[in-house]
């Protein structure tokens, strides 16, 4: 167990080093969600005047988006790196050493979570500079960071399952539009009770990403909403558990084939 933890620590550091050596990826994952936040909140500023809108400022309402959006980017990058480790034979070489291969998968996921937290700190700082105040106060910050890490882990675990199943990075990159669909067909830019189209509201209600966003949003605009937080942590954890189970199955199959 201790050996596995030491191996996971080394492999997390390796994954972080590799991520940092690709500044283009880090820059895009960090900047794109912020740009999206500002253009969407600028364009939809008037929505805050709609009757029943839960916040006075659309920027505060939308601040939850980059935590999940950024998590999506780092998760895809982490899964692509795992795909490359499979393509280049690193996973197979690792299987020939005393090191266990499970820490490799964990290393990529923990690195994604760490990058997700780092990005979340930047988004929080930028949001504060733009005038957003957290209704949950300073105590809300660690909870936001935990949810941001959970979002990165959830998307990352799904990407890992695909990488292990297919064994190539291109298939993982193909996941990006799918994750993007999940983000867009959620309550990302409008509270569910204000979504006009019944079909869209139904999809957003079934979509776990809605609950991740609503949990994060509640800490920014509402304070401490136990139900929203329970749903966010519940959905995030369920996604991680399901994806890790799929990863474990795919991993076993891959090692048997090897």
């Amino acid at each position: 167990m201790t050996a596995a933890l030491v191996q996971a620590t080394y492999l997390t550091r390796r994954a972080l080093d590799r991520a940092i050596r690709q500044p283009g990826h880090i820059f895009f994952a960090l900047v794109f969600p912020m740009v999206f936040l500002f253009v969407v909140s600028g364009g939809l500023d008037r929505a805050a005047h709609l009757p029943g809108f839960p916040a006075d400022s659309f920027l505060a309402f939308a601040l939850a988006i980059p935590f999940v959006h950024g998590g999506l980017f780092v998760a895809i990058n982490a899964a692509v790196e795992l795909g490359r480790d499979i393509e280049t034979g690193f996973l197979n070489r690792l299987a020939l050493t005393p090191a266990r291969s499970v820490p490799l998968v964990l290393g990529h996921l923990l690195a994604a979570a760490a990058l997700g937290v780092g990005q979340a700190l930047v988004y929080l700082g930028v949001g504060t500079l733009a005038g957003v105040r957290l209704e949950s106060g300073l105590l809300g910050v660690p909870v936001i960071l935990a949810l941001a890490a959970l979002a990165s882990l959830a998307f990352g675990s799904l990407g890992t399952a695909i990488a292990l199943r297919t064994g190539n990075s291109e298939s993982v990159q193909g996941l990006f539009p799918v994750f993007f669909v999940a983000l867009f067909l959620s309550s990302m830019v409008m509270p569910r009770h204000l979504i006009e189209a019944d079909w869209f509201r139904a999809i957003a209600t079934l979509n776990p990403v809605s609950y991740l966003i609503e949990g994060l949003r509640s800490l920014v605009i509402a304070g401490w909403d136990g139900q929203a937080l329970a749903l966010a942590f519940g959905c995030g954890t369920a996604l991680v558990a399901a994806a890790l189970a799929a990863s474990a199955a795919a991993f076993g199959e891959r090692m048997t084939r090897t």
Binding site: V35, V39, V40, G43, P177, F184, L185, A204
Partner: protein, 258 residues
Amino acid sequence: MSGAGVVSVARGVAWRGIHNAFTNPALLVPALMFPMIFFVGFAGGVARIRQVPGFDYPPGYEAFQFAFVLLQSAAMGGVFTGFGIARDFEHGFARRLMLAAPRRSGIVLGYAAATMVRWLFVISVVFVVGLVLGMQVFGGPVDLLGLLVLALFVNFAGALWATGVAMRVRSTQAGPFMQLPIFLLLFLAPVFVPFQLLEGWLRSVATLNPFTPLLEAARSLLAGAPTGVGVAFLAVAGLVVALSLWALTGLRSAERAG
């Protein structure tokens, strides 16, 4: 003779691009999915914004968003060309192509032509989805033809921009630098509400953004009440001229690099 050389090179490159696009789902699916996500996500999720006082667009919010998605997909479809060129450089194909082509400007034209064909397919699918979701089109055949030609110019401009970047950097690492400026241009415009309802910094930026008159003209054509169409065509023609120089100097840069 030289004109014939350009056409024959362009035809060959275009045929290869079209063949690759329609036989490789990894290339076609993202090109199709992103406009679809934007259209469904915005038209379905944000439609309530039309209840804001002063929002007046008779064909409805689906058509309002379709005009944006039409131009967005045209511009971003052009950017996908750059990805293909950068990939061709990484695999060494582009260099062999430049050695073989008697008139190298035909290479740029060929890539752009393939992009147009792929975009026409993409937008046809999105248009049908729009009609299924209840989009109303008030414009007549002449308006729609004008809209299509305007979007084709935008597509060509996007392809020229991305070609210029790809020919200079010759690596897929340049992807974010192809996408981000176009993304900013697209979203720093009246995407969610008409221009007169924009407030604050976004209104100031949208006033200067060359994409704003294009978007407003596209919406007016879709509504059957053309306004500002001449200005839009002038703006896009200016973009095409400037970006042609950008793409051709990029080609010269690639030639010098050998």
